[in-house]
C-alpha cells in the first residue's frame, strides 16, 4: 500500500519516462509511411486488442449489475479510445504514451485520489455503508420472534411455473396439523383433503400449487427472504427453507422524524448527519452507523488531538532517524567493503563477493522473523552467544539499535553491489594521479572517489531513503512498534508513521480508515517534499562535478 506510493516510484518512473517520451516515437515517426505491416505485428495487435475487448466485456457485467453507469461510461470511452488509437495509422506518439499513462492513472493516481477522498470521511468500522444500509441493518437485526407464537413447518410453493410463478408459503402448524397458504395478502386455511403432509409436518403437495424443492427454491432466495405474510401480531417470515416463524421488527425507521423508534421500549434515536449515527436523547448511539463526510476533522485531529499529535511528531522524528540511519549505515558499510574489495592488492575477491551477497539473497520477510527471535532476551541467539542479558526489545534505545542492526545486515549487500558497480566506472588513473601529486589515500578518497561515487549513487540513496521511510516490514515483523511506554499503548519507541497508521487502520481496536488515510496523506506529503528537495540538490551537485 505504502511502498507503491513512494518506495520504488521515483526510482523506476524517472528512467522509464525518457525512452518512451522522446526516443522511440521520433524514430518510428520518421519511418511511419515506410513501415510494412508484418504478419507477426498484425497478430500481436489482434491479440492485444482482443484482450482489451475481453477485459472490457468482463468488467462491464459487474458494472451493469451494480448500475454503475459512470464507471461503465469510462470503460466504454477508454476501450473505444484504445481501439481508435491502435486501428488508425496516425497519432504515433500517443500509441507509446497511452498504455503507460493508463497504468499510471490506475495504479498511482487513482489510489492517491481514493485515499485523499477517504481522508475526509468517517469511513471505518461501524461507518462503512450508506444510511439506507444502516437502516436496513437496524431493522433486520431487531426482528424478534413473537413470544409464544407458532413455529411453522414451511414449504415454498408457487402458483404455476416454479421459476416465475408468484411465491406462496405453505405453512403447517405442528400442533394442530392445520395447513395454510400465506402470501403478501395474508393467511388462508387449506382443506386437509387438498394437501399431502409428510410425517415431519412438512407439506409435500397441495392442489393448485407447485411445491418447490430446495434447489428450485434457493434460486429465488431473495424473493423468499423478502416475502412476509402479515398477521395480527407481526408477520410470518421464512427461516431457511423448511421453517417459518412469526416475527416482528421491534425497531422501525420513520422518515418523518428521521429517527428510529423501538416499539418495545418506546425509545427514539434521531439521525445525526454530522457523525453518521442514530443518537438517543441520553447520548446512546445505535451500533450501525453510516459513512458521512466529516470535512477536515481527521486532519485537525491528527494535528490537535493530544493523543495523536504528541506521538505523531515524536514518531516523525524517529522515522527520519530510522530512514537516515538505515540508509546511511548500510551505505557506509557497503561502500567500505566495496572499496576494500576494489583494491588491486585484494585476493580472492570473487569468493568474498559471493559470501557478501548471501544476506541479500534471503527473503527479508523470513529473515526479519528470524532476527526477532534472535533478539529474544532469554532464548535468543544474540544474548546466548555473547553471554549478555540485554532486554533488546524491552528498552527504547536497545530496541532502536536492534532494528537498525537488522536493517544494516539486510541492506548493506545492496549498497555493496551498487558501489562496486559505480567504482568500476571511476578511472583508476584519477586516484593514481592524486597519489603522484602526493595526496594520502584518504585525501584522494575524499576529493575524488567519494564525490564521483555520490554523483552516481545519490538517486539510489534518495530512493532508498524514501523506501526506508515507509519500511513497514522492518518494524512490524520485529518489534511491532514496541517497546511501548507504560502509559501509552498508541506509540512505541520504534514505531514508524506507517506502522502507526497501519495500527490505526487495521489494528485490533477496529478499523479507522478515515483517520488512517489522513495520516497517509501527511506521510505522502513528507516523503514527496523530502524527495523533491533531495533530487533538486542532487542535480545541483551533478552540475558542480560534471
Amino acid at each position: 500500500m505504502s511502498t507503491s506510493l513512494s518506495g520504488p516510484g521515483p526510482a523506476t518512473r524517472t528512467p522509464g519516462r525518457e525512452p518512451v517520451g522522446s526516443g522511440l516515437p521520433r524514430a518510428s515517426q520518421g519511418a511511419r509511411n515506410l513501415a510494412p505491416i508484418t504478419a507477426a505485428g498484425l497478430l500481436v495487435k489482434v491479440v492485444l486488442l482482443g484482450l482489451v475487448a475481453g477485459i472490457a466485456v468482463w468488467a462491464a457485467f459487474p458494472l451493469v449489475e451494480a448500475e454503475q453507469w459512470t464507471g461503465l461510461a469510462i470503460l466504454a470511452v477508454t476501450t473505444a479510445g484504445l481501439f481508435y488509437l491502435y486501428l488508425t495509422r496516425r497519432h504515433v506518439p500517443a500509441k507509446y504514451l497511452v498504455p503507460g499513462t493508463l497504468f499510471l492513472i490506475a495504479f498511482q493516481v487513482f489510489p492517491v485520489l481514493y485515499t485523499a477522498s477517504t481522508a475526509f470521511t468517517n469511513f471505518g468500522d461501524g461507518h462503512r455503508g450508506s444510511k439506507d444500509d444502516a437502516i436496513v441493518a437496524i431493522q433486520s437485526s431487531s426482528v424478534k420472534q413473537v413470544p409464544g407464537s407458532t413455529e411453522y413447518s414451511l414449504s415454498i410453493a408457487t402458483k404455476g411455473d416454479p421459476a416465475t410463478g408468484p411465491l406462496v408459503f405453505l405453512l403447517s402448524d405442528p400442533k394442530t396439523n392445520q395447513v395454510s397458504a400465506g402470501d403478501a395478502d395474508g393467511l388462508r386455511s387449506l382443506d386437509a383433503g387438498d394437501v399431502t403432509v409428510a410425517p415431519g409436518g412438512k407439506v409435500t403437495a397441495a392442489d393448485g400449487y407447485t411445491v418447490l424443492n430446495f434447489g428450485q427454491a434457493s434460486v429465488r432466495s431473495k424473493e423468499i427472504t423478502d416475502l412476509v405474510v402479515p398477521t395480527s401480531g407481526g408477520a410470518i417470515r421464512s427461516n431457511g427453507l423448511s421453517r417459518a416463524y412469526e416475527g416482528k421488527a421491534v425497531r422501525a425507521y420513520d422518515a418523518g422524524c428521521d429517527c428510529v423508534t423501538d416499539s418495545e421500549t418506546g425509545k427514539t434515536w434521531t439521525a445525526d448527519g454530522a457523525t453518521g449515527s442514530f443518537v438517543a436523547a441520553d447520548g446512546e448511539r445505535l451500533a450501525q452507523g453510516w459513512r458521512v463526510n466529516v470535512g477536515l476533522k481527521n486532519f485537525s485531529r491528527v494535528l490537535t488531538d493530544p493523543n495523536i499529535a504528541g506521538p505523531f511528531f515524536g514518531t516523525l522524528l524517529w522515522n527520519f532517524a530510522f530512514a537516515l540511519g538505515s540508509t546511511g549505515l548500510t551505505f557506509v558499510l557497503g561502500m567500505a567493503i566495496a572499496l576494500a574489495l576494489h583494491s588491486p592488492r585484494m585476493r580472492g575477491t570473487n569468493l568474498y563477493r559471493v559470501l557478501l551477497i548471501l544476506p541479500y539473497a534471503m527473503p527479508s520477510f523470513a529473515m526479519l522473523l528470524v532476527w526477532r527471535d534472535m533478539f529474544n532476551t532469554d532464548f535468543g541467539l544474540v544474548n546466548n552467544l555473547f553471554g549478555l542479558g540485554v532486554d533488546w526489545f524491552g528498552e527504547t534505545w536497545s530496541a532502536r539499535a536492534a532494528v537498525l542492526l537488522v536493517q544494516l545486515w539486510l541492506g548493506y549487500p545492496y549498497m555493496f553491489l551498487v558501489t562496486t558497480g559505480a567504482l568500476q566506472a571511476i578511472p583508476r588513473e584519477l586516484t593514481e594521479s592524486t597519489s603522484v601529486d602526493g595526496a594520502s589515500p584518504w585525501q584522494s578518497f575524499r576529493a575524488v572517489t567519494l564525490p564521483l561515487l555520490l554523483v552516481a549513487l545519490s538517486p539510489l540513496l534518495i530512493a532508498s531513503f524514501a523506501y526506508n521511510f515507509n519500511n513497514i516490514n522492518a518494524i512490524w515483523l520485529t518489534t511491532a512498534g514496541g517497546p511501548f511506554p507504560a502509559d501509552n499503548p498508541r506509540n512505541g519507541a520504534t514505531d514508524l508513521l506507517i506502522t502507526y497508521t497501519y495500527r490505526l487502520a487495521f489494528g485490533a481496536q477496529g478499523a479507522e480508515y478515515g483517520t488512517a488515510a489522513a495520516v497517509s496523506i501527511f506521510i505522502f506529503a513528507i516523503v514527496a517534499t523530502v524527495s523533491a528537495i533531495s533530487f533538486r540538490r542532487t542535480r545541483k551537485q551533478e552540475e558542480v562535478y560534471s
Binding site: L49, D133, S141, A163, F214, N239, F484
Partner: protein, 416 residues
C-alpha cells in the same frame, strides 16, 4: 490496405464475440435454468482447518438438496476480509468464526440474527448460547467452545498446584534443581496477551465490563483502571520480571508451547490447540484449571465459541438460513469438526459422543466451567491492545497503578 483493415475489424469482432461469450457464461445457468436443474449456490467461508472438515458435509448437504455448495478457505484475516467483501456485495452466504466478532459484524451490518426453535436452542450448552447472544438476539449457531487451562508436565510436576503461589514454589524448585529453566510458560511477548493473562486478572479481583440489566456486558462500566484492576495487577507484578520471574516478556506466542514441549518449563497455560504438540513430543501431561492467587477470587478464563453466521448481504440467504439453523444444529457435523480440530463441541449430544474417547476434553471443559464468556460487544476491540501492552509493561517492572490507569483512560477514550 482497405481489405487488411476490414480483416482486422472482422477478426477483432470475432475476438470480441468470443470474449463476450466467455464473460457471459457465468450468467447463463441462472437465466435459463430448467425445473430439474441444480438450483442456487451456497458459499461458505471458513479458515483452512475447518474448510477441510466442512467440505464433505457441505457436499452432502448440496447433493441432498440439489444445490451447489462451495466451501472457500480464507486463511488470513477472515473477519476483515468478510466485512470488506460484504460491504462490496461479493461476500459469502455463510461465514464461520469466533463469537467475539459478533459486535463488529453487527455494527457493520454484515450478519443477520438467526431464529432457533426452543428445542434447538436447548440442545446447546448454556454458555455457548449466551456467547452468541448480542443485544438480546441470537446471531450465530455455535459449534465448539474453547478456553485455556493449565497443562502440566507430570514427570516434572506430579501434583496440580492449588494456587499460583504453589505453582511458583514448585517451578522455583525445579529451576534450582536444573530440571527446568522457566517457572511458567504463560505467553506475553513484548506487547502482552490479554487473553492468556485473564484468569490471573480475575483472580486478583479485576474485571473488564460490568453487566447490564439484560445480562449483556455494559460498555459504560469499564473495569480497567478501577482500584480492583490495580490490585490485580499489583499481584501480577509480583510474578513479573522484577519479582518471582514467573511471568516474562521473553515468553511469546511463538515459543511458549515449544518451550513446554522442550521440557524447559513444567507448566503451560494454553488451550486445546497445544495438546497436539504435547502428544507429538511425547510429553506426559495433565490438564487442570489455571490456579488463582492464594486467598484471591476464582481464576476465570475466557470462554470463546466458534459459530456459523448468516451473511446479511449473501446472495442466497434462505438457503444459508436453512443450512445454519437446520443442518449445523445436528451432532454429526459437530463431531466431524471436532475430529478436524479437537475443541469441545457446543452441542451437548456431540460433546457426550466424543467425551468417552478423549479424556482431555472433559478436563478442558472442567477448567472452563467457571469461565467468563468473552465479551462480543464492539467495545471489546478497544480492550485488547492497551490492556496487553499495559500487562507487558507491568510484567517488565512498570508501576501497576500508573500503567493500568493510563490503559483505562485510553480504552475509555476509544469506546464510542
Amino acid at each position: 490496405m482497405r481489405i487488411r483493415t476490414a480483416g482486422v475489424v472482422a477478426v477483432l469482432g470475432l475476438a470480441l464475440a468470443a470474449s463476450g461469450c466467455g464473460g457471459g457464461d457465468e450468467k447463463e445457468p441462472a437465466a435459463q435454468e430448467s425445473p430439474k436443474a441444480a438450483g442456487g449456490k451456497l458459499v461458505i467461508w471458513a479458515d483452512d482447518k475447518r474448510t477441510a472438515a466442512l467440505k464433505p458435509f457441505a457436499e452432502k448437504f448440496g447433493q441432498d438438496n440439489g444445490v451447489t455448495v462451495e466451501v472457500q478457505a480464507v486463511s488470513k484475516d477472515l473477519q476483515t476480509n468478510f466485512v470488506t467483501a460484504s460491504q462490496q456485495g461479493s461476500g459469502p452466504d455463510v461465514v464461520v468464526g469466533a463469537h467475539d466478532w459478533i459486535g463488529n459484524l453487527v455494527q457493520n451490518g454484515a450478519i443477520d440474527p438467526v431464529q432457533l426453535a426452543a428445542d434447538q436452542k436447548s440442545a446447546f450448552s448454556e454458555v455457548a448460547v449466551k456467547a452468541v447472544t448480542f443485544n438480546g438476539q441470537l446471531y450465530g449457531v455455535p459449534y465448539a467452545t474453547e478456553n485455556i487451562a493449565l497443562i502440566r508436565n507430570t514427570e516434572l510436576a506430579p501434583e496440580a498446584p492449588k494456587t499460583i503461589e504453589d505453582l511458583v514454589a514448585a517451578g522455583k524448585k525445579l529451576k534450582a534443581e536444573k530440571k527446568a529453566s522457566e517457572i511458567l510458560c504463560l505467553q506475553s511477548g513484548q506487547n502482552g496477551d490479554a487473553y492468556h493473562i485473564y484468569p490471573l486478572y480475575t483472580s486478583g479481583g479485576g474485571y473488564l465490563f460490568g453487566t447490564a440489566a439484560n445480562g449483556d456486558y455494559d460498555p459504560k462500566d469499564l473495569g480497567v483502571g478501577k482500584p480492583e484492576s490495580i490490585a490485580a495487577f499489583q499481584k501480577i507484578a509480583k510474578l513479573g520480571e522484577k519479582g518471582d520471574g514467573a511471568l516474562k516478556r521473553s515468553i511469546t506466542g511463538e515459543n511458549s508451547i515449544a518451550t513446554f514441549t522442550g521440557k524447559k518449563c513444567a507448566f503451560l497455560v494454553s488451550g486445546p490447540w497445544a495438546i497436539a504438540d504435547a502428544k507429538k513430543a511425547n510429553i506426559k501431561y495433565d490438564i487442570s484449571p489455571v490456579p488463582g492467587f492464594a486467598g484471591g477470587k476464582e481464576a476465570q478464563p475466557f470462554v470463546g465459541v466458534q459459530a456459523f453466521y448468516v451473511a446479511a448481504k449473501g446472495k442466497n440467504k434462505a438457503l444459508a438460513q436453512e443450512f445454519v439453523t437446520n443442518y449445523v444444529t445436528k451432532p454429526d457435523l459437530a463431531v466431524a469438526l471436532y475430529n478436524a480440530e479437537p475443541r469441545p463441541p457446543a452441542l451437548t449430544a456431540a460433546f457426550d459422543q466424543v467425551k468417552g474417547t478423549d479424556p482431555d476434553l472433559a478436563k478442558f471443559q472442567e477448567a472452563g466451567k467457571n469461565g467468563q464468556v468473552l465479551p462480543a460487544i464492539p467495545a471489546m476491540a478497544a480492550i485488547w491492545d492497551p490492556f496487553g501492552k499495559a500487562e507487558a509493561a507491568i510484567i517488565g517492572g512498570a508501576d501497576p497503578a500508573k500503567t493500568i490507569t493510563a490503559a483505562g483512560t485510553t480504552i475509555a477514550g476509544q469506546i464510542k
